[in-house]
Symmetry: D4
Subunit: 240 residues, 8 copies
Amino acid sequence: LKVNWLRSEGDARLDLDRRQRLGMVEAIWGEHKSPEQIAAILRNLHQASEIGLVTRVSGGKAEAVAALLGDAAQQLELTHHPQARCLTAGLTAPLAQGPEEQVVVLGGGSSDLGVASEACLALSCHGISCGLLLDVGVAGLQRLLSQLERLRRAEVLIACAGMEGALPTVLAGLVPQPVIAVPVSVGYGVSAGGQAALNGMLASCAPGLTVVNIDNGYGAAMAALRILNLRIRRGDAAAD
Amino acid sequence: LKVNWLRSEGDARLDLDRRQRLGMVEAIWGEHKSPEQIAAILRNLHQASEIGLVTRVSGGKAEAVAALLGDAAQQLELTHHPQARCLTAGLTAPLAQGPEEQVVVLGGGSSDLGVASEACLALSCHGISCGLLLDVGVAGLQRLLSQLERLRRAEVLIACAGMEGALPTVLAGLVPQPVIAVPVSVGYGVSAGGQAALNGMLASCAPGLTVVNIDNGYGAAMAALRILNLRIRRGDAAAD
Amino acid sequence: LKVNWLRSEGDARLDLDRRQRLGMVEAIWGEHKSPEQIAAILRNLHQASEIGLVTRVSGGKAEAVAALLGDAAQQLELTHHPQARCLTAGLTAPLAQGPEEQVVVLGGGSSDLGVASEACLALSCHGISCGLLLDVGVAGLQRLLSQLERLRRAEVLIACAGMEGALPTVLAGLVPQPVIAVPVSVGYGVSAGGQAALNGMLASCAPGLTVVNIDNGYGAAMAALRILNLRIRRGDAAAD
Amino acid sequence: LKVNWLRSEGDARLDLDRRQRLGMVEAIWGEHKSPEQIAAILRNLHQASEIGLVTRVSGGKAEAVAALLGDAAQQLELTHHPQARCLTAGLTAPLAQGPEEQVVVLGGGSSDLGVASEACLALSCHGISCGLLLDVGVAGLQRLLSQLERLRRAEVLIACAGMEGALPTVLAGLVPQPVIAVPVSVGYGVSAGGQAALNGMLASCAPGLTVVNIDNGYGAAMAALRILNLRIRRGDAAAD
Amino acid sequence: LKVNWLRSEGDARLDLDRRQRLGMVEAIWGEHKSPEQIAAILRNLHQASEIGLVTRVSGGKAEAVAALLGDAAQQLELTHHPQARCLTAGLTAPLAQGPEEQVVVLGGGSSDLGVASEACLALSCHGISCGLLLDVGVAGLQRLLSQLERLRRAEVLIACAGMEGALPTVLAGLVPQPVIAVPVSVGYGVSAGGQAALNGMLASCAPGLTVVNIDNGYGAAMAALRILNLRIRRGDAAAD
Amino acid sequence: LKVNWLRSEGDARLDLDRRQRLGMVEAIWGEHKSPEQIAAILRNLHQASEIGLVTRVSGGKAEAVAALLGDAAQQLELTHHPQARCLTAGLTAPLAQGPEEQVVVLGGGSSDLGVASEACLALSCHGISCGLLLDVGVAGLQRLLSQLERLRRAEVLIACAGMEGALPTVLAGLVPQPVIAVPVSVGYGVSAGGQAALNGMLASCAPGLTVVNIDNGYGAAMAALRILNLRIRRGDAAAD
Amino acid sequence: LKVNWLRSEGDARLDLDRRQRLGMVEAIWGEHKSPEQIAAILRNLHQASEIGLVTRVSGGKAEAVAALLGDAAQQLELTHHPQARCLTAGLTAPLAQGPEEQVVVLGGGSSDLGVASEACLALSCHGISCGLLLDVGVAGLQRLLSQLERLRRAEVLIACAGMEGALPTVLAGLVPQPVIAVPVSVGYGVSAGGQAALNGMLASCAPGLTVVNIDNGYGAAMAALRILNLRIRRGDAAAD
Amino acid sequence: LKVNWLRSEGDARLDLDRRQRLGMVEAIWGEHKSPEQIAAILRNLHQASEIGLVTRVSGGKAEAVAALLGDAAQQLELTHHPQARCLTAGLTAPLAQGPEEQVVVLGGGSSDLGVASEACLALSCHGISCGLLLDVGVAGLQRLLSQLERLRRAEVLIACAGMEGALPTVLAGLVPQPVIAVPVSVGYGVSAGGQAALNGMLASCAPGLTVVNIDNGYGAAMAALRILNLRIRRGDAAAD
């Protein structure tokens, strides 16, 4: 049996000017990539002095990447984040949860931890301080209502929820800030896969709620970043 | 052109022992029936000394039935209920909204009035007192929270909602009674037809919520009736 | 490879006043939780003198929880229920199947045993006596008809069915009590996942049937509990 | 404004040897055809000495066809069947409901009359005797059980049902003959359009039930005809 | 860790009078049953002198059943049919492929072998002779056309197809016998799971085609049996 | 025929503190409301000195409302906006299209005009200047690329598209600001109803894109308003 | 009631260099456009010396456009094509059905005439000769097989079909040319809207079949044009 | 336990005259076939002097086939292509990527490599030269625009994309050649399984785009081959 590998024209075509064009680092979607591909991409990003953020990487795949990188793994500050299922390189700052939370990421239940963590980590890669607030689902409403003061101090709220996905609707009826809803693919029966939560969020009767794809914690973080960057860009001008 | 009407074997096969078997009058689903068919059924029910309740009847069709019944219409106390889109015969009591509400029917918005009215009317046909509470959607939470005392006094709650359908979930997290959720087919985009509300209610994280078909106000009323009849049957025994 | 665990702000935010607010113990959905999370929650519930009920726990995960709890496992009366796939702590009473069945849980086929068992167990956790009746699917109608006397003595009926899900419809046409339908995710082709059974139950021509999410035996039990609690609350008052 | 009609190559390409090949007359699906097209086809069939059966024709369209045919309408014995929404030409026999019913067409409710009539009419066009039995839905089971003797005498049963579509399942568990299920597009919410009934019939736990497309009364009749023709062909041989 | 098995009220409630009522042996759906359950059922069927047919049984599960039955396995003539994924007990006759094929089971491709085999085996359990004809998909039409003579001699045709499922449509346009279509869950993209084939068969423009659930080879066989039993019952009468 | 109108407990329960709580006027969804209901609501809003914005109002219904209001119509400055299908009261400012566009609303084709107009009008009701840019669909890419300078000057972009809905994806890859995507329900076949556009936007490979319900121009405007209000609130603080 | 028309920035942004870039005239999708918009576009195209092709225009709308254009209608050679539901301007050549058919458009039934006509007309606008062949559905296979010689002479085949949509699959198994499949939205039940035909075509087991959106006769014509233009471009080069 | 293998009537019924009829080698869909079946088919093809192309074969299955063929494996030039997941026999030429690319296969991201490779390999089996261009997704538009010159030189373009699938739409708006779109089943949430990409491509506003089934790289290659064969057949004639 011969084995015939197709040689493509070189490495992946990285979108390295994304930071300049959009103000974002390029994140790598790790789910369908081999450890070899991920290791090569991280080396390229390191050479370009870019932070590396790879999403949807299991612990086992992370170790395989580390083994491939060998000594360079330490130099790249290769780190795996088990809950967020992400791999980072060159991210030296701690997950920012400072006294001032620019973004608060909420989750209806503890099953939303993975998606919420991905959002927090992606914000941290861009220097945004971020708080995490879980188990505030609407079936026990007082848990959410008791946190309103804290929520009103943030600039953007990201609300993750599976099942019927009602948390963002209730939240957006209580506070005036931008609220970004993330449906989460936990559930069973009609809520399996997150479609019921997604439709509930899109159909929301709370005005001005926006939605991203199911489980897309990274996308919600980038939407928050677009908003915060705007404030900085314009706010700075206003402050002159 | 000859026209050849198929003669069926007689009138509709009414399920007249339903009241004895299930404790319910037989309601007639009027949507696909002609005024002739409805008039014939109402005459039969009158002869059997049964109340007549026909759902999904427009004003125009109601008038056509009345015309067909002629003088008998008054004798049958034929009445059209425009919001509930129902036609009744032999229902003399007012829509029961006494001091003690056995059932409260809630609606997230004023667009839920039709479905909520159908539920109230069906309960009234069985002598159940029923209150109606609209515009308590979860995007303005304080409107619901301010009514909790009243809601806690009822025996069964029926919660109608379209859009994302979150009202029953929030309600069932606040009160211990049976809560029956009715998705309503108002909305557009992903909520058109009521499917998003239905799935949200089925996927609810509030324990013990039950659901009926979209727009099925009559069915929710009958589910409440089964519960209330149970209490009477067993409560009477306990009181002996 | 560094591994960076996100530390959340403490343990899961349990809804411990749920028993007072809704008359129900808080059940834990075990499917997406690790043995460590479940063990921690069970310890907390034990300290709060609450029964622990964790749904969707495989035998292997149950053993892992037991190993983590060590000697405390016996003190907590940790028990796994293989058919219901549930783990309980502090549940001393046997599964209640006394001479008087308050609730009967029916299943169309023996494949519905898992969902039906979850319902029975959840009722037992609240002291409700419960009978189980399987293999009464409508393709062999005499099996159901022969049990009508027994069914008429119960207060609430829970009917579980996969495939086309016609059992609850036929049942609700025969008896006057509350009937709660639970679609079951057994089947293949168009019935895979339980969606055909769910839609059949929602579309039912039997009046007053209510439905819960696919495989949600626990939810059906809590709906029955809401009804039974109502009878007690009101029945007691009537009996004074 | 010029109007440019595309001239196709002649009349519709009728499948006139269908009777010889399949033992069936060619039925014309009238829904998307203009009165002009239908009139032309009926003339062609008449010249070929074939019966004409056009399905899905409203009363108005039938009159338009009659007007186009003029005096020939009487010669063609043009007849409209309002309930079945069909137009026939050359069908002289009455709708066959003789003492011996080869086929019985059942309907769960009176809303199934249209589809059931289409099936009966299509059978009559082939000389098959056919009975009609409506209002035997499974929510009032005794109505079906009381007809078992009659049903056991027929050779093929066609069971039409909307809503949850459980009638064919219950029926096929009671009798040994071929049962052909026809989902009907009456209903609302999840049963709108007949999809819930269709899936319920396909998912049926009764062995040997077969299904045709929603509202396809004609198709069910042709399936029964294939079976009856087989009996004749083989039975004749056996009787030699 | 205590383990608490729920004891049900005895063995599965077999529908042993099905043979008398419907002329069919009761088949057991093995997919969700444990080897212990299957072994117990087979013992019961053997005591009742019934053939045992268990569908959807893998080779490994079959061996586990055999091990549980021990010496009785040979006495029961326990046999596994790998392609049909079925387990039989008491079936002594060979798979009937005699000179006269009462039923021919066709498959569009060799991937339809499993479903087609299940149909053949179920027919053999009832003494029906059955032929198998694979690889006659419509993309190479001559393969089907060359077999028309053989097909015309059979009494019932069962046509299995995945992908776009066009085989039954083309077949039913060519021959006058009953044609039962079985969608098969092979394919990918829009044809994954067999839904495209199912809808194509239901939507078929060939008159009188009937359809069963996806992969339901057993059900198609039972539908054929209903037809063949009818011929015998009536044919015998005719022959007197 | 008696006609029995259910009297609800008063007028609609308006959420008049929404402006204070969320910084938004309450918009009225006009689709399912009668002219009488709309006229009553507009009177109430006028008394509360609030602007009235009613969406999904046809020209005919607008005239009916005006007739009901009589002389008050002029006092309320009642205005119908045919393209946006909205009715406003008390909105004196012109649709703001000043030299500085805070928001630009883009549409892929001229069929997106209705949804885009609704967004512009809703922004104008809150004093936000807004530009409109149609016919920049991605099948003729140069039309979009030629407008990049203008787009980069805005603070928030709202991109409306039907069909495959690719415009927001391409746009969000070109500019760093917040981009809110609105699927539009124009199209046919797989794009009928806007579901294909919705899914395309949610699945977008451009990071940080957020989405609202199909045709929800008003919702997109409110999401933009949340962002702009944030900038003002925080920008003001920063500028102190 | 004031009426406030939003003035957009001018006329529709036509993609007038499409002919140069893609070799196609720009077709206008008329379904959601007003007669005023269509008339303005046709004037612009005339000034640019371009043919005008507007799809999905009813007879009534065509007359309204003609009335708006007044005398210019004749100058523009405004023509309505009722079957194709298209309006053309400047198209002087007859629908090309010369001795040599470059493209043959097939339809399974006469209900496919509308979509097939749209394809023919769009080809004629680009000078391509085109034949039309209806009523060659696969339920009467000999009708297709008898036309194979004619079909083999064409360069590209466009196959339109509703219902189960099997025509293109059978066709592509018989001939080696490019076959473009167009699902047609005729049918009912599972085939309503054309989704069953679409999925059947995509799932086809015939290699090299390509598919366009439901009812997209214009799109199929443009795909054929891309192929034919390629031949010309390359064929010319080869012929040099 | 007896094991009873059904013996089918011989080997698979290969469609060996496909090359003559359609100009294509017969590809074998390997997903549901055993190594034994594949080995037998490859031997048959070798005897018929045909190239063997088996799609959807994992590395492990390829090795199993090689082991079964033994020494013949080398003689057959058995080769596995890991990225394309294909097994070939008798393919001696290298993957053709000559100076002149007749077809260019594009992929939006590196996750599209598998499907794109399958297309390239299938073309190579027919002697077509083929280039591969990945990572040209529309969220970084300049990557595609910079390759336009190269793309304009090819004769047919195959565009593979997952997620929202916008690449083919943008591409077909830029170049005049035939563009064949292949949706790819990478993605998550609404894009899982490739349905969002598929619908986006069918709904495309770019005229003349055609689509094949999800992941059907082989089908796209065969569609390109039909086009190229046409050019050769006709171009040769023109060149005479």
